[in-house]
């Protein structure tokens, strides 16, 4: 191309735009590739811009019709460093919306700031990736279960630009299926599942030639009308992510019957575009994964993972046909140290923004980051603009509530799955607050119990009945002591009996005597102990009723004791005198009878007193 022709073109452009050219740029070469294999339309354009004017230029304008801008989800401009380089290099150029004067209506302009101003005659090549949602329309809009979904795509065969374009071409990549129809222009070629338009040369600015492609696609359109991701940080070592999906199938709606029989018998013909499953790629080391909806667990899911990633394959409760909806929740825990870092005295969370499921278009994405209670100095950094707000959430044992950062973005595509950061300050000591609260709670409970047990909660302390009750308690105590003494006496009696038995077995009178001596001593002691108690009972009015019984008991016991001792000494005597068994029995028989009778009475009395 000679200088002259370029000048001609330049003049022509000037003439068309009636002097609205902002700069002297021309697009030397434009390659556009439209990918229609999924529900998201990805348009990659490689632009070679050349400065044809004299002034150096650093801003390049990109134009999109307004009806496309509505659906534009993502736009990025990256330098083209030849083929084979990664498209998503970090240093993308800044892009912003501008409203230049004297431009045709119904167009929106984005201005790309080049890192280096283009001087005269210099050129630069860069890639523009524009991602659109909801631009593929099903046509017909309603199909039966047996029909195959047909989609319509509309665009221009020429690159819409405020600059003149020297050479351009467009290729439309379709899924491997039948093409119903497409607009045939000059230089249109079809190559497998790819339609090629162009090359076209030397087109003036704002040239536009509509094309329509109508093609088959079995791709299900998973659209989340709303996705709420809640990321809750616990400094005890856990990041809990809960994702609440409101999903529908945005493709051609099903009309008429849904037959499970047909679906099960010929799933790829009857129900080809049904949404069967989704794969969520969770971060590595995700654990406690769950998948449920409001009526319980959904059992159709599989989980597997390795060190790089965790993959969760989920099936909705039913296969989703066009227009059907569902909602469900996915939740998982992540190790804190993988996502929380520290820098310059601040902590920051570094986690992905978008949803982990590929091929889902999200109309409204709300990301809530719940920070621990007591966090301060909160700031957020995101790679793209989002709407921000703050709220608080009350959760386990909170007092003030946890600060929540709410980020909202519309029209989210997988390209938005980038890391964002939330910075905040948090004192580690605040971690101990809740355990301490619990401990002190339990502690005070015990204290309250102890106080209750020891406090006297009776209403009046001087009333007659209260005093009577106190006295009665004392009397009861005394009676109990008497009882225990009597019991001990009885125990000693038993010991004596045992010693007698031993005697009859072994004939060892000495040990028997020793036992007798011990018994004597302890009995005497017990009698001594009994005295003050009896005295107390006699003096107390409350004991008037019970006193005769107690006295009776003591008397009987005394009697019993005497008898027993008598018997004991008799037996021992007999043994020492070496009487025969018969003889001893005869001598003792009388005693024994009395003892038995007395023992019975004593027991009865004890029982009686026991019941009082």
């Amino acid at each position: 191309m000679g200088m002259g022709s370029r000048l001609d073109l330049f003049l022509l452009t000037i003439a068309i735009l009636s002097g609205t050219v902002l700069s002297d740029l021309i697009l030397f070469k434009v390659d556009r590739r439209v990918d229609l294999t999924s529900q998201v339309v990805r348009v990659t354009s490689t632009l070679k811009v050349e400065n044809d004017g004299t002034n150096s230029v650093s801003e390049v304008l990109l134009a999109f019709p307004d009806n496309q801008v509505k659906h534009l989800a993502y736009l990025t401009v990256t330098p083209n460093e030849g083929k084979g380089k990664s498209k998503h290099s970090a240093n993308s150029f800044p892009v912003e919306v501008v409203h230049p004067k004297d431009m045709p209506p119904a167009l929106t302009f984005y201005s790309v700031s080049l890192p280096k101003a283009l001087g005269k005659g210099e050129s630069s090549t860069f890639d523009v990736l524009a991602v659109f949602t909801h631009t593929l329309r099903p046509f017909p809009e309603k199909i039966t279960q047996a029909d195959i979904q047909l989609l319509v795509f509309q665009d221009s065969a020429y690159f819409l630009s405020p600059y003149a374009v020297r050479v351009q071409s467009l290729s439309v990549k379709l899924p491997d299926a039948r093409i119903e129809s497409y607009t045939k222009l000059e230089n249109t070629k079809i190559h497998g599942s790819e339609i090629k338009y162009g090359p076209y040369e030397n087109l003036p600015p704002f040239s536009y030639s509509p094309i329509v492609v109508h093609f088959e696609s079995k791709q299900p359109f998973a659209v989340a009308q709303e996705l709420v991701r809640e990321i809750e940080i616990s400094h005890w070592g856990n990041v809990q992510v809960t994702e609440l999906y409101n999903l529908n199938h945005g493709g051609a709606e099903i009309k008429g019957e849904f037959s499970r029989l047909d679906y099960q018998a010929r799933p790829h013909i009857r129900g080809a575009s049904a949404l069967r499953n989704l794969v969520a790629r969770l971060p590595p080391r995700a654990r406690s994964v769950y998948y449920r909806d409001e009526i319980g667990n959904i059992s159709t899911s599989h989980l597997w993972g390795d060190s790089k990633k965790t993959e969760l394959e989920i099936e909705p409760r039913y296969p989703m046909f066009g227009g059907w909806r569902t909602s469900f929740t996915i939740g998982y825990s992540l190790p804190l140290q993988d996502f929380l870092f520290q820098s310059e005295g601040k902590r920051f969370l570094n986690i992905t923004f978008g949803c982990p499921i590929n091929d889902v278009v999200i109309d409204t994405l709300i990301v809530k980051v719940v920070l621990p209670e007591g966090s301060s100095d909160i700031s957020v950094s995101t790679p793209f603009p989002v709407k921000q707000s703050h709220e608080t959430k009350l959760s386990h044992l909170d007092v003030a509530g946890r600060p929540v950062v709410v980020l909202e973005k519309n029209n989210v595509v997988p390209e938005h799955n980038q890391y964002f950061q939330v910075y905040y300050k948090f004192n580690s000591l605040a971690l101990l607050r809740e355990p301490l609260m619990l401990i002190s709670g339990v502690f005070f409970l015990f204290v309250a119990c102890i106080v209750y047990m020891h406090a006297d909660l009776s209403i009046s302390k001087s009333s007659a009945s209260y005093l009577a009750k106190l006295q009665w308690d004392e009397v009861q105590g005394a009676v109990q002591q008497v009882q225990s003494i009597i019991n001990r006496c009885l125990a000693i009696h038993d010991k004596l009996e045992v010693s007698l038995r031993d005697l009859s077995r072994t004939g060892d009178a000495q040990s028997c005597k020793a036992a007798r001596k011990a018994a004597d001593a302890s009995l005497k002691e017990l009698t001594k102990e009994l005295k003050p108690l009896l005295g107390f009972l006699q003096s107390s009015q409350q004991a008037a009723q019970i006193l005769p019984k107690v006295e009776n008991l003591v008397a009987k016991e005394k009697d019993l004791q005497d008898r027993l001792l008598a018997k004991h000494s008799t037996v021992v005597d007999c043994y020492e005198k070496k009487y025969g068994g018969k003889e001893i029995e005869n001598r003792v028989a009388q005693h024994q009878q009395k003892i038995n009778a007395l023992r019975q009475e004593v027991d009865d009395l004890l029982d009686f007193i026991d019941e009082i």
Binding site: R260, I295, Y318, R325, S327, S395, L397, R488, A491, E525
Partner: protein
């Protein structure tokens, strides 16, 4: 000095015993709670069955809208187009309990969902119930029996079946309320304290709030009072226990909207008022007897008897006239079927159609109360030695509940606590006898009682080691310490007393050493068997939530989650105001899970409405379409088990639809659906059967699955295999075909006859259609 030391020793031991039994009780509570978690662990934390879904939905409404809205709640999503006044027709106890728990937790900032609270309400209340059992049995026969009974109740299968986690039904809290009311009654009876009498009325109020079974209490207690009076056991304590309960309890009960004036007007409460009068008369007689001399008293008796007889006759005549004027004699249908077990099957097919209203079989006794059935007689005998007010009450309780459980399977639940109490008493008495026997026959026992305990416990632990399974010894573990502990409690009074005394007095009860040891071993074995059975029942038999089914096949566990699949589909893919018709079993679930309006549900308050749906299901397609269309129905849901062999599907329930429908609309005749008195769906079936809507909706295109249309539930090939639907279209069928949803096709432009017909008219046409259907079968 020594006395002081002993007394300190005894208080210490006493305190130790109390702490010990406290911890045992806590462990029993934990056991009761955790044995019910099998459903959560094996399945998931989800509400079970049918009624719990309704309760869950009500609780959700309560937590969302508050208590006042709840009382006024008119539910328009059910019984379309009639609706249902939920606030006035539901027993609110369970809902209010769970709502309060939820509110309490949330105000403490513990964010549990309503569902979680509902799922775990029943296990929590089972723990409470076992504690209440402890208290009740303790009042009757002491701590040892109390602990044993509590441990038994914690895992009795009958109670587990109604209170596993997720079984969010009235019975879950009502059993606790029942036992606790009885406890407070016995406590009042034993103490004569007005404080406990008031508490008793409040507990009774809670029971009235919770369950219709409160009538059991208000009849059993008067019976006991009457028994006491007749056997000459009247005392002021009895009066204090009974009179405030009737007055306060009736006042409180009539505060519950669902009971209201029924508390004074229906015959279920009549006995309590009669006894109320009697006890006053008796009280008066006792008073006069105390005031007057012997001779004067006799004169007064004759005077009052003659006067009283006249007054009584008059009152009774009036009452009988009142009662007789109402058609059901003032009894509700369920109560009548209790008194006359054949009543329901004769007159009320709706009550009879519910499987839990059938009389139980013998195996179900063994399944539900297991070895307790054998221990109960022993417990009754133990209650008679000696017979006290409290033990006579327990005996009366077991006798009546055995009768009721024989009438309805469902009332096995009332029997279970009684059986546990009796068995607890029996076991503890038996253990006491055996261990005492062992104790006295060990040398030197009388002196070294401490050593004795050690020896005894080691001997006890011997058989325990033999049966060293972790779970089954739990029961024995619980028993043993309880007994030990009880010993300790007695010890303060007489360290050596029991040994000394019983040597003389109770020598008769001392058994040979070997026999005692073997018996203890056998008893422990019995307990172990019981524990094994209970754990098995909890894990395998009673934990399935019934909305999720599982089957074990050669390639592992297979889950049938079809119900929720269908409900989820309905809830997401139909309009909010669409009406869904199904048999009433699925009404509660549809409103709760799918949030769609239903025509009939499990609250079977309107027989005609249910009969209308039954008629539609048993009519040919066109007539059914007209009935459904007149009810604004848009979707019809049927449950079909023929593909996977799920037996409780609609075809198997179909005869009840015919019966209930036929009860109101006489043109539906049961014999039309039966071939020679047999219910069949194969080629021998009657044309009426093969043309009815239920058949068609169930088997639509079923033949194309295997080519033969083999029904795996009925184990036969179906009668009519190829047919089309003209007025309905299939819109959804679940993965295993267990739920099929059809949509009513919009009326075509060209329709013979009139499009709009009233219900009565449409049923008139139904008759005609079905007759013509007989002549030329459909298609």
């Amino acid at each position: 000095m020594a006395a002081l030391e002993t007394s300190r020793g005894t208080t210490l031991r006493n305190a130790f015993g109390n702490v010990f039994s406290f911890f045992i009780l806590i462990l029993i509570g934990v056991l009761a709670f955790s044995i019910r978690l099998f459903s959560v662990i094996k399945y998931e934390s989800v509400i079970h069955e049918f009624d719990p879904y309704f309760n869950y939905r009500v609780t959700q409404f309560l937590t969302k809208s508050g208590i006042y809205e709840f009382w006024n709640w008119f539910d328009d999503r059910t019984w379309y187009p009639l609706g249902r006044v939920i606030g006035g027709t539901v027993y609110p106890g369970l809902t209010l309990t769970a709502g309060t728990i939820w509110w309490l937790l949330n105000s403490l900032n513990i964010p549990l969902s309503v569902e979680t609270v509902c799922v775990f309400t029943a296990p929590i209340f089972s723990a409470f119930a076992s504690w209440a059992t402890y208290l009740l049995t303790k009042e009757v026969k002491g701590t040892g029996a109390g602990l044993t009974a509590a441990a038994l109740l914690a895992m009795v299968p009958s109670y587990i079946s109604r209170s596993v986690a997720g079984s969010y039904d009235n019975e879950a809290v009502a059993i606790f309320a029942l036992i606790f009311t009885f406890y407070l009654y016995i406590k009042t009876l034993n103490t004569g304290s007005l404080f406990y009498a008031t508490l008793n009325a409040i507990a009774y109020f809670y029971m009235v709030c919770s369950w219709g079974g409160y009538t059991f209490i208000i009849n059993l207690i008067p019976m006991h009072v009457l028994l006491c009076i007749v056997t000459g056991r009247y005392s002021s304590r009895l009066y204090v226990a009974y009179a405030p309960l009737v007055v306060l309890g009736t006042l409180l009960a009539s505060l519950v909207p669902v009971v209201g004036f029924n508390a004074v007007m229906t015959s279920e409460h009549f006995a309590s008022f009669l006894v109320f009068i009697i006890i006053h008369v008796v009280a008066l007689v006792y008073y006069i007897k105390g005031v007057l001399s012997e001779k004067m008293f006799k004169v007064a008796v004759t005077l009052i008897l003659s006067l009283g007889a006249i007054v009584c006759c008059a009152v009774i005549a009036v009452l009988i006239a009142l009662v007789a004027s109402s058609p059901t004699m003032g009894w509700s249908g369920r109560s009548l079927s209790l008194l006359d077990p054949t009543y329901a099957s004769k007159y009320i097919p709706i009550i009879a159609s519910v499987s839990e209203h059938q009389p139980p079989t013998w195996p179900s006794y063994f399944m539900d109360i297991n070895v307790l059935a054998f221990l109960v007689p022993a417990g009754i005998i133990a209650c008679f030695s000696p017979l006290s007010d409290a033990s006579s009450f327990v005996v009366l309780y077991i006798v009546t509940s055995v009768y009721f459980s024989g009438v309805m399977v469902r009332l096995m639940l009332v029997l279970a606590p009684a059986a546990c109490i009796m068995s607890g008493i029996a076991l503890s008495e038996a253990f006491e006898v055996f261990t005492r026997s062992i104790k006295f026959q060990l040398p030197g026992s009388s002196v070294h009682s401490q050593v004795d305990v050690g020896v005894k416990s080691s001997e006890n632990s011997l058989p325990q080691n033999d049966v060293a399974k972790t779970d089954k010894t739990e029961d024995t573990l619980k028993e043993r310490p309880s007994r030990k502990n009880r010993k300790k409690e007695k010890e303060p009074v007489a360290v050596e007393k029991p040994s000394v005394r019983s040597k003389i007095e109770k020598k008769l009860l001392v058994l040979p050493l070997e026999a005692s040891i073997i018996s203890i071993f056998l008893l422990v074995l019995l307990g172990a068997f019981y524990v094994v059975h209970c754990v098995w029942a909890a894990a395998e038999a009673y934990s399935a939530p019934s909305i999720v089914l599982t089957s074990h096949s050669h390639d592992g566990l297979h889950v049938f989650d079809d119900f929720r699949e269908a409900y989820a589909w309905l809830s997401h893919n139909t309009e909010v105001d669409d009406k869904v018709a199904s048999w009433w079993d699925y009404g509660y679930q549809t409103t709760a899970m799918a949030n769609r309006t239903v025509i009939v549900d499990n609250n079977t308050w309107n027989n005609t409405h249910i009969a209308t749906v039954g008629t539609a299901m048993s009519s040919p397609e066109k007539a059914a379409w007209e009935i459904f269309n007149s009810l604004d129905v848009k979707y019809v849901l049927v449950v079909f088990g023929g593909l996977v062999g799920y037996p409780s599907d609609d075809i198997n329930k179909f005869l009840w639809m015919v019966r209930i429908g036929g009860g109101v609309f006489p043109h539906i005749k049961e014999p039309d659906y039966l071939k020679d008195g047999q219910y069949r769906i194969d080629s021998e079936a009657t044309p009426t059967m093969l043309n009815c809507l239920m058949y068609k909706l169930s088997y639509y295109r079923f033949v194309e699955t295997d080519g033969k249309a083999f029904d795996r539930v009925r184990r036969t090939e179906i009668g009519k295999k190829h047919f089309k639907l003209t007025h309905f279209e299939e819109v959804f069928t679940t993965h295993h075909w267990m739920v099929r949803i059809y949509k009513l096709k919009p009326p075509k432009n060209r329709i013979r006859g009139k499009t709009k017909k009233s219900k009565s008219k449409s049923s008139g046409t139904t008759t005609k259609r079905s007759r013509s259907g007989k002549k030329n079968p459909w298609h």
